[in-house]
Amino acid sequence: MTTTDEQTQTGTHAQAAAAEPVAGLDTVEHATRTPDIDQPWSELGLKGDEYASIREIIGRRPTIAELAMYSVMWSEHCSYKSSKVHFKLWGENTTDEMREKLLVGIGENAGVVDIGDGWAVTFKVESHNHPSYVEPYQGAATGVGGIVRDIMSMGARPIAVMDPLRFGNLHHPDTQRVLPGIVAGVGGYGNCLGLPNIGGEVVFDDCYQGNPLVNALCVGAMRVEDIHLAKATGVGNKVILFGAKTGGDGIGGVSVLASETFDSGGPAKRPAVQVGDPFAEKVLIECCLDLYAAHVVDGIQDLGGAGLSCATSELASNGDGGMRVELDLVPLRDASLQPHEILMSESQERMMAIVEPDKLDEFMAITDKWDVEATVIGEVTDGDRLVITWHGEVIVDVPPRSVAHDGPTYHRPLSRPAYLDALNADSASALARPETGEEIRAQLLTLIGSPNLCDKSWVTDQYDRYVMGNTALSQPDDAGVVRVDEETGRGVAVATDCNGRFAKLDPYTGAQLALAEAYRNVATAGAAPLAVTDCLNFGSPEDPGVMWQFRESIRGIAEGCKFLGIPVTGGNVSFYNQTGDVAIHPTPVVGVLGVMPDVSKRSRSGFRTDGAHIYLLGTTRPELDGSEWAHVIHKHLGGLPPVVDLAAEQALGRALVAAAEAGLVEAAHDLSEGGLAIALAEACMRHGVGATIDGLDQVGVDADGTILDPFTALFSESSARALVAVPAGSAAQFEALLGEVPHRRIGATGGRDLEIAGLFSVSVSELESAHTFTMPAVFGS
C-alpha cells in the first residue's frame, strides 16, 4: 500500500537528516577514523584470516553493517566455502551436449531446462535441516517458502513441491517431537500456497537422531521467453523491495544455525528461526506472475538466507554497475531494528526487483492490486560499489562481488575413513537367512511394516496433492507427475532418492545409486530423464573423513550424470549434520526431472486387473549388503553396496519410456529397498489386486552361475531393475521393444493373495494390515 509519493517524501526527509549525524552510528567515515576498534568478528562466525581479508578488500576496518554483511555472506551456508573447490567436478563432467539442454545453469537461483514446445522448467532442492530441528513447524514451513521463492525468482509459476525427509529412530521420543511438527509445517505452508505436494521420501535411521534432514524441492514452469535473472543493470533503474515488512526474525539464522552443531549447553537458538506466512507468499506469487506478464521487471531476486545482504550484493554483483540503497526506507515490523540487523534479517516473503523508472507506476499499480507493500529503496548506479546509507550517512561501501562471490575458499583436508576397510569386509552374507517359505513370509510381513517400508499416508495425507488440477501421479507412486501444458498434456515427472546406508559403505557408489534410483523412478513413470538437482547432506567438513565422503559423492553424481547425459542444474550443500563427533550417513539426495509429451500416458505402480503378465526387468545379483532386509532383520550395516550399471539403467529407462508411450503398461514399479518382494507387495496393495509368482527360479544367478535361492531372489537390492505388468494381449509387443534389456516373465496378476509358488501365500489384506499399522501406532490416527 506504499505509494511512490510516500517514498519520495521519506527520501527527502532522509536527505535532510544527513546534515545531522545519527548518534552512535558506525559510518564508513567513522570506521576510517577509528581503525583500531575491537570488532566482534569471531562472535559473528568469522575466522581471523577472514576478518583480515575483509579489511584488505575494503582498505580499512569494516563498519558494523559491513561486518554483518560479510559474516552472513561468507558463512558456510551462503558461500559454500568448504565445498566450492569440488564444484569444478560439475563443470568438468558437463559435456556440450548436456549444456545444450540448459537454459540456465548452476549459479542462478535455480537451473532451467527446455522441455519442448516453448516451455521451460526450473527445479531445485534445498535443505532446511538445522532450523527444522530447533523449531520443527516453522523450520520446515520456511524451508518450503524459501525454495518456492527461488523458483519464483526465475520467472516461473511454481507448480509442485516434494519433500525428502529423514528422521532418527521412529520410536525415539524426540522423533515424536520433531516429525509431527515438520510434517505439519510442510503441509501448513505448501497447502496454503496451493502447490501440490507430489512425492518425496520419509526415511528413518538412527544416524539422523538429533539431525533430521528436511529437504524441500520445488518445480516451476514458464514460457522460455519469460525467464528472469537476478541481476541489477541499467544506471538509474530502481531497486524495489516488496512483500512482507522486515522484522527481527531469523537474524543471523543462516550463519549461526547452519554452521554450528547442536552440542548440549549451547545458547538457545530459537529466536534465530524465521517465521513463515504462507498467505503472504501466495499473494506474492500471484503478484510476481502479474509483474512478469506486464514486463515491468528487469531483474529479480528473492530474499532468503542473509536477507538484504544477499539480495543487494548478488543483484549488484551479477549486474554491470553498482547499487545505492537507502536502508532507512525499508519498511519495518519493529522500528527498533538497527541497520546491521535489517541487513541480516531473514524475514520471509520478501522479494527485490530492478525496475526501469518509466515502468515504476505500472509496477506499483500491480503490487497495489494485490495489496503487496512495495518500496523503492535505491537505484542502480554507475561504478562498481554497493553503497548503503542510513538517514543519509554511508554505512556500507564495498565491491559487491567481494561480498557475494569472492568469499573465502577452503581446501579442507580429506581422507578415506579408517573404519571403511572393516565395514566393507563385514558382509551381510554371513547373516542368518530364513530357510522355509513360512520364515520368508514372516520376514516379508516384518519388512512391509518396518519404518522405511511402511505406509506413509499418515504423512502424505497431510499434503494437498490435487490442487492446481494437474497432478497425474503422486506418492506412493514411483515419481510425481504434473501436467505443464493443459492443451497438449506435456509435463514433467520428478523423483528424489538416496539410500544413506549405501553411501556410508561407499559414497561414490552410494551417490550413483541415488542418481540411478531417481533416474529409474522417473523412467518407470514413463518420462525421459532430462536433468538433475541435488541436496548434499553431510557431517562436519572439518572432519577429513566427511570431506572425503563429500568429494566422493560429488564425483559419483557428476560422473554418473555425464554417462547418462543429463546435466546437474543446481542444488544445495548442508554440512554440520552431526552431533559431537558422530556424523549422519552421507546423504546426497538426488532429484531427477523427466519430460513426457503427454502425462496422461504415465505408468502407475499398482496392479489393476487380473491376468496381466508380470515381468521382471534387469539383472538380479546376490546383493544384500546394506539392504533393508539386513537393516531391519539384523540391524546390520556392512559390506559393499550393489553394483552400479548405468548402461543398464539407460537401457531399462528407454524401454520403460517406450512401453509407456506405446500404452502397453498396466503397472510399472521400480525395485529398490526390499527388492522384488517389497515391489510385488506394494504393487498388489495399491489397488488390492493379487499376483501369482511362479518364475522365481528364473530371477537370476550368482557369480558361479548357480540359480539364486528364493530368499535372495526376493530380497536382493540389485539396481537397474523394474517390475512391469502388461496385459496378456500386449505381451509380445512389449517383449519386442525390450531389446537388450534382460527380462523374465515371472508370473501373473490376479486374485486377492500374493502367492509365491512353492514357498508361501499371503493375502493382500494381511500385507495391508502390516503395512498401514506402523505410523498410526506411533503418532495416532
Binding site: 496454503c192 498467505f279 490435487y466 496422461s600
Partner: protein, 231 residues
C-alpha cells in the same frame, strides 16, 4: 452459460473450478473479490483455498469482501451459488447457510479420496445425480468438521437440506468429525449449496480419483438453461 468463479486473496482452487466449468461445457467468468458487480453471470462458485490466510477464522474475512455485498442479496434472490471447502466456510460465515466448519476432530489437515452419498438430487447443483447415489471425490481440509446445534441439524434433515453425507468407516467415523456425517447442505430454495469435498478435482480423466464431480457442473448448466427457458 456463464459461471462466475470468485478469487479472493488466498483462493487456491479458483483456476481448477474454472477449468471444471469449461470441461463440462460452461463458460467460466473470473470475478475479483474487490468487484462490486457479478458481470451478469448465471451462477457463482466460491472456490477452495485459504482466503485471507484463514486468519481470524476460515471465511470470516472473505465474508466482508465487496463482491459479497452483491453476491449475498443475489443468492437470496435465487442466484445459484456453490461454495466448495473454503467457499462453504464463506457461505456459513455469510449466513447464506447455517452451521459452522471447525477444526477436524483429529486436528490434522487431511487429503483423501472420500465416499459421499448424494441425499438431495434436486438442488441447482445436484440435479444430474440420483438420490442415494454414492460418489467418490477429493476431500482436503484442516477445518472441515460441520457443526450446528441439534435444532438446526434436525431442521436440515427434516427439510431434506442435507445434500451429501460422508460414508462412515468401519468404526463409524467420518474424515473430519462432521456432525451426523454431514458433508454438504443447501438453503431452503436449493440454489445455494456448500460442501467440504472438491468436485472440481474429479472431472478430468487422469487428474483425479474419478469423474464423479462432473455432475455439479452439468447440473448447473441444466438449471441455467431451464431458468433461461422460463424467463
Amino acid at each position: 452459460m456463464r459461471i462466475g468463479v470468485v478469487t479472493f486473496p488466498g483462493s487456491l482452487d479458483d483456476r481448477d473450478a474454472a477449468r471444471a466449468v469449461r470441461a463440462c461445457g460452461g463458460e467460466s467468468v473470473p470475478l475479483w473479490h474487490g468487484d462490486d458487480d457479478l458481470r451478469g453471470v448465471d451462477a457463482v462458485i466460491l472456490p477452495g483455498g485459504f482466503s485471507y490466510g484463514d486468519y481470524l477464522r476460515c471465511g470470516a474475512i472473505a465474508r466482508f469482501a465487496p463482491v459479497m455485498d452483491v453476491l449475498v442479496p443475489a443468492a437470496q434472490g435465487g442466484l445459484p451459488v456453490l461454495g466448495i471447502c473454503n467457499g462453504f466456510q464463506v457461505l456459513t460465515e455469510s449466513h447464506l447457510l447455517p452451521g459452522a466448519l471447525i477444526r477436524n476432530d483429529h486436528r490434522k489437515f487431511n487429503c483423501v479420496d472420500t465416499r459421499l452419498v448424494v441425499e438431495n438430487a434436486s438442488t441447482a447443483w445436484t440435479s444430474d445425480y440420483e438420490a442415494g447415489q454414492e460418489i467418490t471425490i477429493v476431500l482436503k481440509n484442516g477445518e472441515g468438521g460441520f457443526v450446528a446445534d441439534d435444532q438446526t441439524l434436525d431442521m436440515l434433515e427434516g427439510e431434506g437440506r442435507v445434500v451429501f453425507r460422508y460414508v462412515p468407516d468401519a468404526d463409524g467415523r467420518n474424515p473430519n468429525g462432521s456432525y451426523r456425517h454431514i458433508a454438504g447442505i443447501t438453503n431452503e430454495r436449493g440454489n445455494v449449496v456448500g460442501l467440504m469435498p472438491h468436485p472440481e478435482h474429479a472431472v478430468e480423466e487422469g487428474y483425479g480419483p474419478t469423474l464423479d464431480g462432473r455432475g455439479f457442473f452439468t447440473s448447473i448448466l441444466t438449471h441455467a438453461l431451464e431458468t433461461a427457458a422460463k424467463a
